[in-house]
Amino acid sequence: MELLYKAVADNGLVAAFAVVGILLWISGVISRHIFGGRIQGSAIAILGALALAYLGGALTGKAKGLSDVTGFAGLALMGGNMMRDFCIVATASEVRVSEAKKAGALGVLALLLGTVLPFFVGVGVARAYGYVDPVSLTTIGAGAVTYIVGPVTGAAIGASSDVMALSIATGVIKAILVMIFTPVLARFMRLDNPQSAMVFGGLAGTVSGVSAGLAATDRRLVPYGALVATFHTGLGCLMGPSVLFLIVKALYG
């Protein structure tokens, strides 16, 4: 037992492969036998992983979910940005160029709306709960775009650290909500073809939310959504401290 424990602790990444494999296998069994295949195995696996992340965070009091628990550290490497982006790029081998081209202009429109709409929802909520200065309002609004746009914008315009934390929390909750509710809302959003996935990628933002949400809905849509979503954070970081901040300043300054 001690030998096994040591082997797991010393070989984090490999252990993570085994953990995720077991989780996916259990999820597949649940999907087939309990839900009759109506809920995708990957959706159940992602929900289960989020539940485990809560458990890990509650046990350790740290920020990186299950990977902070001894023996599960490899999950941080396996699920980190490098692996995620590498695999997303690999899915481009499945993109049909003719499909991607059709949604070009629409993707740009979706990206713009996906930055501006969440921003002003965030600003509106913050305003309703008593935040009045343009810097805090902009930072919280930017957090509603993605959890990277929030702190980048906040740092650029000099927000206080508690507002930054609130901004990041907003973005993290948004990403998790997108992960959970994309498969639920897929029919309502008509999310069933490459063009719609690109619109989704632009509007829903957050690469992590989009990639997990599409994976749980229809694996084949992933590269189309990711292709657009990858520009989301950049656009947000560009507009947040500049145009959007100036607008907020003009409105509430």
């Binding site: 695999c87 481009a92 990403a175 909500l177 997990a212 694996r219 560009l238």
Partner: protein, 136 residues
């Protein structure tokens, strides 16, 4: 060895894409990578297309790319397991409402736009033409 060629091609595209994204970020004065993954994807699509038309793409090399594409869902599951869910639960009403509000607004916007696309007519052929890549 041939499998490695595919993975190496993928890696080179990835790195060049990230460099392009960082360069674009510096160019427009943003402290972030702007579309690096997107550039990498476009590079990979272009180089795979080039390799196919030249006939130098082997089944083995192809596998060096598709393996990583198939690993995508497991990686996303691992990513989900490392999210800071506790903070998301605990943080105040502002964060929850801000996030939920923007998700609802965006979902409605997506529904509107996609219904417009649908009315213009979507080619249903892609459903049958794409190889099934379900990996769960």
């Amino acid at each position: 060895m041939l499998v490695m060629f595919g993975t190496a091609l993928l890696a080179v595209c990835y790195l060049l894409g990230i460099v392009a994204g960082d360069a674009l970020g510096i160019l427009i004065g943003v402290k972030a990578n702007v579309g690096g993954v997107g550039f990498a994807m476009i590079l990979l699509i272009a180089s795979l297309h080039f390799a196919h038309t030249r006939g130098v793409m082997t089944v083995g090399a192809e596998r060096g790319v598709t393996f990583w594409a198939a690993l995508y869902i497991p990686v996303v599951v691992a990513m989900s397991a490392t999210q800071n869910v506790v903070v998301a639960f605990k943080s105040g009403i502002v964060a929850v409402l801000g996030a939920a509000g923007s998700v609802v607004v965006c979902a409605c916007m997506i529904a509107v736009i996609n219904r417009v696309i649908e009315r213009r007519g979507v080619d249903p052929a892609w459903q049958n033409a794409l190889p099934s890549a379900e990996s769960d």
